[in-house]
């Protein structure tokens, strides 16, 4: 039994090792993200996007780098949304598959532990929606091989707080957040700080645990505090459930959220409960710049792209630009080249700051849900 | 002779049921005492009370003049009271040798650190333990089964192994709960002789529960008879067998047994 297992293990590892042959005119790019687990929808969407764009580049003859045409190949692995698996996958991509760059993952917890491996292997990573500041900067020092195309939590929190205070004229706010989720805790913290700085009051600060489905105890407490807005910095399933339950309890306050909201399912599940709510987004869905990508994606995969697809799209754009600028398919050169790049992505202008590796000054879009549609309100930049 | 075990007014109630009702008796130093009575008379309960498995509702149990009521079973065992079980409780997945070796642990006192670093005291004491375990197995005629997993041992030998395991603790009082259950007359006879020999060789006292009257009559110097939790008689084999209450209790049960 044991021998058999070992043999199987050895064979499988060897087979896996022989997988990628070394064709010289192909640039291999890694992707990692969740293909299983509750984040799988987004992972799949990102990987599909990268695949589609690479196919398009290749069909057009490839990318010219340093006077030579290269084809692009993506090697995508599932990390189950688990940091430990992200480490495994990163080691596999950099060590075994010898990719020149990695795109993803879609969560900060999965992106942060990749840093030492990337540094050792000298392979840059472009995160899609990892919004924790510590993905690219730790203790005031920028991590040389970590980049991203999205804005960060402090910014998003400041946008939400500023919008609530200045545009919605909210003076009291309640927060409901997922205490077990890093993204949710981050947004809650920065919303709270910024809203109070503006002069507003947080009248209730309640939490739930990842996996909870009933929020009425917390909402009843929030109802008693009677806030102008309720900030809900978590993902759409919980948003829909908590919004429904809030309305059931007779809470009339305006709901406000972050980039965990946008999804078709929010509308179908949330229905009337999320009507009139606002959320901070990375882009305006109605923006003419994104329509072409939306159509191409739908034509290829038969379904709408999620939010992650747009950011994966821009991550690919950024990578291709970096590759061209580097002049050779080499991780170290690409990392150098990415610093300071300034391109127009479909989610906005992406200017990678050499100090933070973040797309500095990227506007956030505020959307409102009206008649079951996302209606763009304004580009809002926090001061 | 002085009493090694001194029981007075021992009572145990389970909810509304009185399993043992104000029972008193002694086991004399070096004596073999039989505890008999129909099913449900409270015999095993008394064993459980003596060994600390149950806490008595009231009454006293003194071992060598010291109360052992309320002590945990392992402390009572440590003091020198040990037992076997009616439904055998061996360390089933361990070998015959390991069963005995485990129970020998009171003969060693090396510490955790000494064990983990394999220090000299560990080595010498372990050697001594092995020797003792093999000795005991030899005396009881089980050495031939040294490496057999206890569960694979024939039933009669399992009972014998349980006795060996008890002896490994160097007890001064041994409680045997139906040691002859499931044995044929031949084996019972062997066991009878064995119990006598153990008493003499190991210099201990024995309290034995048994249904086999041959065994009881043959080996016990003193007999205590229980019925419905109460002591109804005590004395020598002769005295007890002539006691009308005892005869009635036994006849009664045999009728009930026939009904069932």
């Amino acid at each position: 039994m044991k021998k058999l297992l070992f043999a199987a293990l050895a064979v499988a590892l060897v087979l896996a090792g022989c997988g990628g042959g070394g064709k010289s005119d192909v640039v291999k790019v890694g992707w990692l993200g969740a293909l299983t687990g509750d984040q799988a929808v987004w992972g799949e969407n990102e990987l599909n996007t990268v695949k589609m764009l690479f196919e398009e580049y290749n069909a057009a003859g490839g990318i010219e780098v340093g006077g030579k045409k290269y084809q692009l190949e993506v090697i995508g692995y599932d990390n189950k949304g688990d940091p430990q698996e992200s480490v495994n996958v990163t080691k596999r991509l950099t060590g075994q598959d010898k990719v020149v760059a990695i795109i993803g993952p879609n969560s900060s917890g999965n992106a942060i532990p990749m840093a030492p491996i990337l540094e050792k292997a000298k392979v840059p990573d472009i995160a899609t929606v990892a919004t924790n500041p510590k993905v690219t900067v730790q203790d005031g020092k920028v991590k040389p091989y970590n980049f991203r195309v999205c804005f960060i939590d402090p910014y998003q929190g400041a946008v939400a707080a500023g919008f609530a205070y200045d545009r919605l004229n909210a003076r009291t706010a309640a927060i409901l957040y997922d205490v077990g989720d890093d993204y949710s805790q981050g947004l809650r913290e920065f919303f709270k700080v910024n809203f109070e700085k503006k002069g507003g009051t947080i009248v209730a600060d309640e939490s739930f645990n990842s996996g909870d489905v009933d929020f009425r105890p917390q909402l009843s407490k929030i109802k008693a505090a009677n806030p102008d807005v309720i900030f809900m910095p978590y993902f759409f399933k919980e948003v829909a459930l908590s919004a429904n339950q809030a309305r059931d309890l007779g809470i009339k306050a305006t709901l406000l959220g972050g980039d965990g909201w946008p999804s078709d399912q929010l509308i179908s599940m949330g229905g009337k409960a999320v009507e009139g709510s606002y959320f901070v987004n990375h882009l305006d869905y109605a923006d003419p710049a994104v329509q072409d990508f939306k159509t191409r994606y739908k034509a290829k995969y038969g379904k709408e792209t999620e939010l992650n697809g747009f950011l994966a799209h821009d991550a690919v754009l950024l990578f291709v630009e970096g590759l061209k600028k580097a002049g050779k398919p080499n991780g170290e050169a690409i990392a150098k080249a990415l610093e300071g790049i300034d391109i127009q992505g479909i989610t906005g202008r992406i200017h990678i700051s050499p100090e933070t590796h973040n797309p500095e000054g990227k506007d956030a879009a505020i959307e409102k849900i009206v008649n079951g549609q996302y209606v763009f309100q304004e580009k809002y930049a926090a001061q | 002779m002085a009493a090694i075990l001194h029981i007075r007014d021992l009572t145990k109630k389970f909810g509304g049921l009185t399993a043992v009702d104000a029972v008193s008796f002694d086991v004399s130093e070096g004596g073999i005492v039989g505890l008999i009575g129909p099913n449900g008379a409270g015999k095993t309960t008394i064993f459980n009370l003596i060994t600390g498995v149950y806490k008595p509702t009231s009454g006293s149990i003194e071992f060598r003049g010291k109360s052992i009521v309320g002590l945990e079973p392992f402390r009572i065992a440590d003091m020198g009271v040990t037992r076997t079980f009616q439904n055998i409780r061996l360390f089933k997945n361990l070998s015959v040798f390991d069963n005995v070796l485990t129970a020998c642990h009171l003969n060693a006192n090396y510490s955790f650190a000494e064990a983990i670093l394999r220090l000299p005291r560990f080595r010498t004491q372990e050697k001594a333990l092995t020797a003792k375990a093999e000795d005991l197995l030899g005396i009881m005629g089980l050495l031939g089964y040294r490496d057999l997993i206890a569960n694979n041992l024939p039933y009669g030998l399992q009972r014998r192994l349980e006795i060996v395991r008890a002896l490994a603790l160097n007890p001064s009082l041994l409680l045997l709960d139906e040691p002859a259950a499931g044995m044929n007359p031949d084996e019972t006879e062997q066991l009878m002789r064995l119990i006598g020999r153990i008493r003499n060789d190991f210099k201990l006292s024995v309290l034995v529960i048994e249904h086999h009257m041959d065994l009881i009559m043959g080996v016990c110097e003193h007999i205590v008879v229980l019925n419905f939790g109460e002591k109804i008689a005590q004395g020598t084999a002769d005295e007890v067998s002539k006691n009308p209450q005892v005869i009635e209790a036994y006849l009664g049960t045999s009728e009930e047994a026939a009904d069932a």
Binding site: A40, E206, G211, K221 | -
Partner: protein, 292 residues
């Protein structure tokens, strides 16, 4: 006062969901003396069965409800046959049952992810979501219906166990499976019945859960709570499971509502452990003194 009553309603409504799940655990525990962690997976399948009966087959609610319960009835029996029966025959210790149950739970959850997909699905609106408002208090209609159907099915279950011959065999087996086998009770059939019943209840729980909170492959995880509730009430006791669930629901709600939502589960666990220290077999668990 209003908030107190509203929180009490919230707690009871959460508790009644736990109860439907916990009873299935307790039922199996009473016979097999192990915690059937695959129960969560069966509940999850029940939610999916109900969902597809309503959306794909377009069945009326009652039929969908029945189909889901019958479906999980068979799933539970299959799980028993595949994952537990061989262990039973080998008289494996309870650890093995639990591990096998975990395997089944991992298998069921990921099978659904692989075949149906990881996305959440919303039940079509069967009952109007309108609220029953008692002054400032709000009671969900769905909550009320769930509460009533749970009460009816639990009563039927208790009647079944008390009044029928098979039920009595189950009761007897819950005291001593071996003795029952010796006395000619077909324990295999009793065990199958218990799993089937547990599965049937899982179907009911799954459909209600789905209606209330949507359907997704990780529903099974929430059953950790109902497992705790079952332990709280005393494993193996059906009324205990119900009581434990309601208490857990109410305690959680009040802790979140009045003390701290951040530490809600922590405080709930502390209370659980305190109960276990004071009553080592839960509130209504069968107390057995280890017989020598």
């Amino acid at each position: 006062m209003v908030q107190f009553l509203q929180q009490l309603i919230n707690g009871l409504s959460i508790g009644s969901v736990y109860a439907l799940m916990a009873v299935g655990y307790s039922l199996v525990y009473s016979i097999m003396n192990f915690s059937n962690f695959a129960h969560g997976g069966v509940i999850m399948l029940g939610a999916y069965f109900g969902f597809f009966s309503l959306t794909l087959l377009k069945l009326p609610f009652a039929a969908a409800f029945l189909l889901a319960s019958v479906g999980t009835f068979f799933v539970a029996i299959i799980v028993e046959r595949v994952a537990y029966k061989p262990l039973r025959e080998r008289r494996a210790p309870f650890l093995y049952f639990i591990i096998s149950a975990m395997g089944a739970s991992i298998l069921l959850e990921n099978l659904v992810i692989a075949t149906i997909g990881p996305t959440f699905r919303t039940y079509p609106e069967v009952f109007s979501k309108a609220l029953i408002e008692l002054g400032p208090l709000a009671v969900g209609r769905l909550d009320l219906i769930i509460f009533l159907i749970s009460a009816v099915s639990l009563t039927l279950l208790i009647l079944f166990i008390d009044k029928t011959k098979l039920g009595k065999a189950i009761q007897a087996a819950s005291y001593n499976v071996k003795a029952c086998a010796l006395m000619g009770v077909n324990t295999d059939r009793v065990i199958l019945t218990v799993f089937g019943l547990g599965g049937f209840l899982a179907g009911i729980a799954g459909v209600f859960f789905g209606m209330k909170y949507t359907v997704y492959p990780q529903i099974g995880n929430i059953t950790t709570k109902s497992f705790i509730a079952a332990v709280f009430g005393g494993l193996g006791s059906l009324p205990g499971a119900v009581l434990g669930s309601v208490l857990l629901g109410v305690i959680e709600t009040f802790v979140a509502g009045y003390l701290s939502s951040q530490f809600r589960d922590l405080i709930a666990f502390v209370i659980l452990i305190a109960v276990l220290v004071l009553r080592p077999t839960g509130i209504m668990g069968k107390v057995t003194e280890d017989k020598a």
